[in-house]
């Protein structure tokens, strides 16, 4: 089906199901199409989308007075569609999409914990983001909930979370976290194992919930960009870009071409830095410290250059509403080009060794397989999806400038094991290097930022950016006086974490660290 033909097919099928659809104002969430539904049709609309083969990309609520507007995002071959409905706060009940879309599970529970939407037929009634910091029945994202909260006492440990138990002779349980053994974010893992084999893994996250969505309320655009850059520190460029893109779409801001090129330059630098760090760490987890040392060295050099040229080793606050904060001086172009050539030369022999080293093959091949069907069911994107046969990439499939002219090569593998994820990451480093050169070649002149036009009250925008982990989706709605009233950043990790629970199944406990590292979900990015 060609572009948007599928939409008429979807609408026809909805009609068969007697679902009444009103097409929403087309531009408000562009490039996504927008369909408004009655609340009672919510579940069916999800079911029809699943039958058509759409990927489910997220759900979020937006309190407006006495009601909550709920939006779910779907994607089909690069086209986006937002379903929208409203429920009264006095009776906030909706059908769940989880029975048809397992990836919806935690996002719906997040929405339940923060806004009090009850999802009927949800297979898992347990809370998710809420531990014990605020009382049950209090919903932090509702307008009447003060940002400072109402219960100043010490929050007790989340000890009564009802984990699923596997029982049988010889089955034992390993609880890990929230404070892990390494330099890593906090979370809790509950393994049920028999002998060495993992029968079941359950994650309990939410430990670094800081109230990001609530903190965004009332911020001005610049302050929102700073906050977005701290949703997940390793994706600071991508999240800040997605938030700025959403604000720029909401205000119809014409961002200068040079700024967009520089943003892409930052984003590709971020991708390379993270992949280098992870490739080294994955190898190190199976005892191949050589790769850690080599990749660590290359990453450090890369970060030093970022600092030298753009003022920050991780490029925080480099993306601002309307453009970027730092320009690339003309005399920096040649050394930067030399850098790229250097890195390309350095990774060639290194990646060759990693790709074909018996002791690595032994531990990585066939380990932690994410079946393509599972990856599709959960809606995985980025290297995780690409290592399991899903080639989706926002930069190519729904390109935003400058990627409309600079289409990246998107490596895909089918095996879905740790080795495939390493291979995809190595190929992405090479592809990003090629992109960086082309970005420098075609770097337009001109301004690096345009002023953001005054946002109209109620203006909404959707940001869609390919972060290094995969697709980032960010929703922004402005209120009065150019202040943010709703900010929802959806990191790809929402779908990577459930994938980890599946791909670990049947592996041995000692392989968990390397499986986890190869997926590398962000905790902060989902705890919000």
């Amino acid at each position: 089906m060609s572009r948007f033909d599928w939409l008429s097919e979807y609408l026809a099928r909805l009609e068969d199901e007697h679902v009444i659809v009103r097409a929403g104002e087309a531009r408000s969430l562009a490039p996504a199409h927008r369909l408004v539904l009655d609340a009672e049709d919510w579940g069916r609309a999800g079911g029809v989308a699943a039958a058509l083969g759409c990927r489910w990309a997220g759900v979020w609520g937006d309190p407006r007075g006495e009601a909550v507007v709920v939006r779910a995002c779907l994607e089909y071959q690069g086209d986006y569609l937002v379903l929208e409905t409203g429920v009264p706060l006095s009776h906030p009940i909706l059908a769940s999409h989880t029975p048809r879309y397992p990836g919806a599970d935690r996002l719906e529970r997040h929405l339940q914990d923060l806004l009090g939407i009850a999802f009927l037929d949800h297979p898992d009634s347990r809370r998710w983001t809420r531990h014990q910091a605020w009382p049950e029945g209090d919903y932090p994202l509702r307008p009447d909930f003060p940002v400072a909260g109402r219960t100043p006492g010490r929050a007790p440990a989340d000890t009564d979370y009802p984990f699923v138990r596997v029982q049988g002779s010889g089955v034992y349980e390993i609880p890990v976290g929230p404070v892990h053994a390494g330099i890593i974010e906090p979370g809790h893992f509950r393994f049920q194992a028999a002998g060495e084999d993992v029968l079941r893994l359950e994650e309990r996250l939410g430990y670094v919930h800081k109230g990001i969505e609530k903190l965004a309320v009332g911020r001005d655009p610049a302050a929102l960009a700073r906050l977005a850059g701290r949703v997940s520190g390793d994706s600071t460029v991508a999240h800040a870009w997605a938030a700025c893109q959403a604000m720029e779409r909401a205000t119809e801001c014409a961002v200068p071409a040079r700024a967009l090129h520089l943003r892409a330059l930052f984003a590709e630098r971020e991708r390379i830095a993270n992949h280098l760090g992870d490739i080294g760490a994955i190898c190190n987890d199976v005892g191949f410290a050589f790769a850690l040392v080599q990749c660590g060295r290359l990453r450090e050099r890369w970060q030093r250059r970022s600092r030298e040229l753009f003022g920050h080793r991780l490029l925080m606050d480099a993306v601002v509403p309307g453009g970027v904060a730092r320009d690339l001086p003309r005399e920096a172009i040649a050394p930067l080009r030399a850098d790229h050539a250097d890195l390309r030369r350095e990774v060639a022999p290194l990646f060759e060794i990693i790709d074909d080293h018996p002791s690595l093959d032994d531990r990585l091949l066939g380990t932690g397989i994410l079946a393509p069907a599972d990856a599709r069911a959960l809606g995985c994107t980025g290297y995780l999806g690409r290592a399991s046969g899903l080639g989706f990439d926002v930069r190519r499939d729904n390109p935003y400038p400058p990627y409309d002219r600079l289409v990246p090569e998107v490596p895909v593998q089918g095996e879905g094991d740790v080795a495939a994820r390493v291979r995809v990451r190595m190929a992405e480093v090479r592809a990003s290097l090629a992109l960086l050169d082309r970005l420098l070649e075609g770097l337009p002149g001109g301004d690096i930022a345009a002023p953001l036009p005054a946002p109209a009250a109620g203006a909404t925008g959707l940001g869609l950016v390919e972060g290094w982990r995969g697709e980032i989706l960010t929703f922004v709605r402005f209120g009065e006086g150019g202040r943010i009233e709703r900010f929802f950043p959806r990191d790809p990790s929402w779908f990577a974490w459930p994938a980890l629970e599946r791909l670990i199944h049947g592996n041995i406990v000692p392989d968990f660290p390397v499986c986890n590292k190869s997926v590398n979900g962000s905790y902060s990015g989902v705890d919000l």
Partner: protein, 169 residues
């Protein structure tokens, strides 16, 4: 194996590249750090890092302390897996309220005398997140703090300087 040796040989010892300003200072701070650690901690300072709510940016830079450029183990600084083995806690992030109890328990599990170092602007004063229904803000709002290392995130060199300040003369 041959390829590995070749690569290792070609790479050489990265810390012996002609020092830039940064590296010279790194060496100076590191050597001083090692002197004090030898005198006061019997040659080894054991640090337990605790992320109490960070955005994970601070963790990336703490990791960088172990890369071959910084290689802090050579100065006697070791990151350990358990608070029971630690002389110091290196805490990042504003303390999320969901981590409040876990952080206190980790602190109690660390044998006295212990140092608590708040790493990163968030850990120092709450940073971009401050105090909310979900965040306690600065680490010192939850456990006593000895030294603060600001920066978002602090660079490896700033972290090293902070460690130096933490262990005193």
């Amino acid at each position: 194996m041959y390829r590995i040796l070749k690569q290792a040989f070609r790479t050489g010892v990265v810390t012996e590249a002609p020092p830039r300003l940064d590296d010279a200072e790194l060496e100076a701070v590191g050597v001083e750090l090692r002197r004090r650690i030898e005198a006061r901690f019997n040659r080894s300072l054991a640090i337990r890092q605790v992320d109490a709510g960070s955005c994970n940016g601070c963790e990336l830079e703490i990791h960088a302390l172990n890369n071959p450029y910084h290689d802090v183990e050579r100065f006697g600084v070791h990151f350990v897996a358990s608070p029971r083995h630690a002389d110091a806690l290196l805490v990042t992030g504003p303390v999320s309220r969901h981590m409040q109890t876990a952080l206190r328990r980790t602190w109690r599990a660390t044998p006295a005398p212990k140092l608590v170092i708040a790493a990163g602007t968030c850990a120092c004063d709450g940073g971009e997140f401050g105090v909310t229904y979900a965040s306690c803000g600065a680490v010192e709002n939850v456990i006593p703090v000895d030294v603060k290392i600001p920066g978002c995130p602090p660079t490896p060199l700033e972290l090293l300087r902070g460690l130096l300040a933490a262990i005193g003369d």
